[in-house]
Assembly symmetry: C2
């Protein structure tokens, strides 16, 4: 019985770590995206943010499937989210476009990051009820990253607008059904 | 009595918000530090990280003094910490030095950020007992930023060493008395 308990414990531990390792992976791809932007490899940055978004979906699914959702996992997930979908897309779009708008561009970039942080902080202290309150930062960050593909087709001011719009949607309190 | 209650409530609300506004300030200076690094204004970046560190000390003191420590404040504080003392110093030192080490430098930068995130996630699920477990990210980030002043005097490889050392100290489980 003792041995079986130990084996069972080890499997549980591995399963529990599986989700957290994916979260660390998400965060690492977020970090890699930022470093790619610094090195002017913008398409890599976009790719890495999308991989982070994929891992972000996956870790939650794995944790739920294995029944290993943990407080540590939830906290780690928020840290990954602010890096991969807050900082990384903001730095990408700032470097490519918003930079041209001087202080205004810098201000909007900081507002986007601060709104994402506020959204995550509020989420962490709210009980889950099957609804999101405000646009999740994952969605906002993925959308902002996706606008990379339109750079040649839309005016620069569009990026000021989308950045502030996404910020507003994150901190607003409308309800969105989870899917 | 009703009026007095309302006034009392308003004052409580203002006091409660005071700490959170300082936290948002901390986070905004972190964001401004990152943007300064992107714009090659490195000494501004250092200054902004130090201001963020000052606000970080202050918001906790204000919250404790007014007795307005809140779960939202705690969560917001962690978000600020990963930005101002995780991302901002890491991006500064990467841009100035670690960049020269290619993949190794990028890897160490990501390890530093991931260790900071893990340290904060662990802190958020631990009850306070008057001790820190592992080096606080605020201390690690301030120290890493402080090494900026030695750039001309120490070999580049020192920065690889200090980055990995601070990462290790953050995730390690030694106890440090709070001051």
């Amino acid at each position: 019985m003792y041995l079986l308990d130990r084996v069972d414990q080890s499997i549980r531990k591995m399963k529990s770590n599986a989700a957290n390792i994916m979260t660390i992976g998400n965060l690492s791809f977020g970090g890699a995206a930022i470093i790619s932007t610094l090195n002017e490899n913008y398409s890599y940055s976009v790719l890495f943010i999308f991989i982070a978004a994929f891992l972000d979906r996956l870790d939650g699914m794995v944790a739920r499937k294995f029944g290993t959702e943990s407080e540590l996992g939830k906290q780690l997930d928020s840290m990954s989210d602010i890096i991969s979908f807050g900082m990384a897309p903001a730095i990408l779009i700032y470097t490519l476009i918003l930079n041209d708008f001087g202080t205004l561009g810098a201000g909007f970039t900081i507002i986007y990051i601060a709104s994402g942080a506020f959204r995550l902080a509020r989420f962490n202290i709210t009980e889950s009820d099957g609804y999101f309150t405000g646009l999740p930062i994952t969605v906002a960050g993925t959308l902002l990253t996706f606008t990379y593909f339109f750079i040649q087709f839309v005016p620069s001011s569009f990026y000021l607008l989308i950045t502030i719009l996404l910020s507003f949607l994150m901190i607003s309190t409308f309800k969105l059904r989870k899917v």
